[in-house]
């Protein structure tokens, strides 16, 4: 996979390639572009909330569109494609096959992303990334909401196609001499994520069609005026999107398992406990969806069942953390950028997990639900944990993608600004939630406590914005002018790397 960027090749050759490393490059670069687009919206949101009342946006409807796009973009166009990109790079190499199982399908799955993204971005909807009816069917302005629905449909189909490809590549194309219990845990992670996508996502793609026909007025699945039930949508939605939390997270878990033993120069503490915890997490992820809905009027029994289902996922996460701490114990740790990001991510994951236990304790959920607590909680998770590990992996794979080394100093600035910024912003948001500030608000009560906490959160966000600017500069500059990497061991960890030089001819 090396020299993809440096070796002069016409752009069209990469664009029309079906080779897994080329598709991987497309996935990775586009996910990073969407990361910066969504992050820019976050800066606008935090600027607006510096003070109560209108600050830099005069129209609440624009603010509502911005937080909708911020969420939709970062979940579907950053987290999913980045994981697919790294999977495309590494899975065929790790299972010792020449390419993905279906190279053309692979390219098709990638090329569904740009039209899906264009529909979502140009639509500029205001329904929130959850698109709860009846708002999204009776009040949300078109064609924005319709474009959002079709955009997500295309993105969902793309995910399903790429998942089929990963499953077949791993299970059918694995080298016959390589037993499944010897593949890197990252392969297990991509396999389990793909199975979860195949089980979870069709429910949401079906409910998107129901949402659309409801908008047209020809059906009333979720419209109480036509005998429908809006809560049914929430069940269908969270049946997809609580597992989706693990779909986002499990590739990051796999990446952490890849990085930690290498950078501790020690074998993994327990391979089998990692695999077992991944499989159990993948199953139990399906048993907790209604903890997003405690306040919709669920019965006492339902609330109890889903609280237990949610708590049941915690020991598996704890098993992963145990492995990640026990592995470097007594090892010779190499503190390069990937190490910092992984351990920073694990530290914030612990915080996010503790907050999650509070969310699922039923009486406490009624205090935190739909407040800024929840905003802080899931940002610690998707940003502080998943994205942190993704950034670490991006730095790790950078020399293999470009043949050059990134700037370690800029990467360090990126990490520390980001880590401190994330704590300032997301921990403060937890407290804001306890003070009763609802999420998704353009304006808040003019109370000195709320104002100062919002300003702390905004300062943290601006630190993260600065951090991401150094990341962008580092990536662009190092790709073009970085020091050539010493390819046999760019991180000086004396580890065996993948056979990155092996490259099959293009299809």
């Amino acid at each position: 996979m090396v020299l993809e960027i440096r070796k002069p090749r016409p752009l069209w050759e990469i664009l029309f390639s079906t080779h897994h490393t080329d598709v991987a490059l497309l996935y990775t670069v586009s996910s990073l572009i969407f990361l910066f687009m969504g992050g820019t919206l976050a800066m606008v949101i935090r600027s607006e909330l510096l003070f109560p009342g209108p600050t830099i946006i005069n129209d609440p409807s624009i603010f509502n569109r911005i937080f909708t796009m911020h969420g939709t973009d970062l979940l579907f166009l950053w987290l999913l494609p980045f994981a697919a990109g790294i999977g495309n790079y590494l899975i065929p190499i790790m299972v010792k096959y020449k390419d993905m199982a279906y190279p053309k399908l692979n390219a098709v799955a990638y090329w569904m992303i740009p039209p899906g993204a264009a529909l979502v971005w140009l639509g500029w909807a205001d329904i929130g990334w959850t698109a709860y009816p009846p708002y999204s069917i009776i009040r949300a302005p078109g064609p924005a909401a319709d474009m959002w629905i079709f955009g997500l449909k295309i993105l969902g189909l793309s995910s399903i196609l790429s998942s089929i490809n990963f499953v077949v590549t791993i299970l059918k194309c694995k080298h016959p001499d390589l037993p499944i219990m010897k593949v890197p845990i990252f392969v297990w992670a991509m396999l389990i994520t793909s199975f979860m996508i195949l089980a979870a996502l069709p429910t949401f793609t079906a409910s998107l069609i129901m949402l659309y026909t409801d908008r047209l007025g020809v059906s009333g699945f979720f419209n109480p005026a036509m005998g429908g039930d809006p809560i049914a949508y929430q069940h269908l939605f969270w049946f997809t999107f609580h597992p989706e939390v693990y779909i986002f997270f499990i590739p990051a878990i796999g990446m952490a398992y890849e990085l930690i033993p290498k950078f501790s120069r020690k074998p993994l503490f327990s391979y089998s406990s990692g695999v077992i915890a991944l499989i159990l997490l993948g199953l139990i992820g399906f048993a907790s969806w209604a903890h997003h809905m405690f306040s919709t009027g669920l019965s006492f029994i339902e609330k109890t069942v889903f609280m237990v289902g949610t708590l049941a996922a915690v020991p598996m996460s704890a098993m992963h953390v145990f492995n990640w701490i026990a592995t470097p114990w007594g090892g010779r740790i190499r503190f390069a950028a990937p190490t910092k990001w992984v351990y920073g991510g694990i530290a914030l994951f612990f915080t996010a997990g503790a907050g999650g236990v509070v969310n699922t304790a039923i009486p406490l959920d009624f205090i935190t639900h739909d407040s800024y607590w929840v905003v802080g909680h899931f940002h610690l998770f998707v940003m502080g944990t998943i994205s942190f590990i993704f950034f670490g992996f991006m730095y790790y794979i950078f020399p293999f993608m470009t043949g050059r080394m990134y700037s370690e100093r800029l990467a360090s600035i990126h990490f520390w600004l980001m880590f401190i910024g994330a704590i300032l912003t997301f921990v403060t948001q937890h407290i804001l939630g306890l003070f009763g500030m609802p999420r998704r608000v353009y304006d808040y009560v003019s109370d000195p406590d709320l104002i100062i906490m919002n300003q702390i959160a905004s300062i943290g966000a601006f630190m993260m914005g600065t951090a991401m600017a150094t990341f962008l500069a580092n990536m662009i500059h190092s790709t073009m002018k970085g020091k050539p990497a010493r390819m046999e061991d760019p991180f000086e960890i004396g580890e065996q790397y993948y056979d990155y030089r092996r490259r099959e001819p293009h299809h």
Partner: protein, 139 residues
């Protein structure tokens, strides 16, 4: 390898014990909260974009303001006329979704007099952030 496994099992047992305690405690508290006192007075709460209407047992209606008496239990029957909202009084941590076509119940007994914020906690469109009302608790 044996001692390795032992450490991990002890650790998992500790995590499970903490979770069991959190779950059991939540269950007990929720069971208590879930039961609405028999003598609670009923207030019908109707949400619509973007204001609140309250109807007392005697039929009097208030818009944007709710007057309650301290030391009495109230049962709120919450519904919505258009989209989903959420009825929330942060000070008394009362919170329940207002769903069109459904009536959700929540209760509390105000014990302090004064003015408190009532707000919408579920995104409901353009003026969601302004969908507030005033709770006035009198002695």
């Amino acid at each position: 390898m044996g001692s390795h496994n032992m450490i991990e099992w002890v650790y998992i047992a500790a995590v499970v014990a903490i979770l069991t305690w959190v779950g059991a405690d939540s269950w007990v508290i929720e069971k208590y909260i879930d039961e609405i006192p028999e003598d609670a007075e009923t207030i019908k709460v109707t949400a619509q974009q973007w204001f609140w209407t309250f109807e007392h047992e005697d039929g009097t209606k208030e818009v944007g303001e709710l007057h309650l008496k301290a030391g009495k239990a109230y049962r709120f029957e919450v519904t919505s006329k258009d989209v989903i909202h959420a009825f929330n009084i942060p000070f008394y941590t009362a919170m329940i979704d207002a769903v069109p076509g459904r009536i959700n119940k929540v209760w509390f007994a105000p014990d302090q007099t004064g003015e408190f914020l009532i707000q919408c906690r579920e995104y409901c469109g353009l003026l969601h952030s302004q969908m507030r009302a005033k709770l006035i608790v009198e002695a």
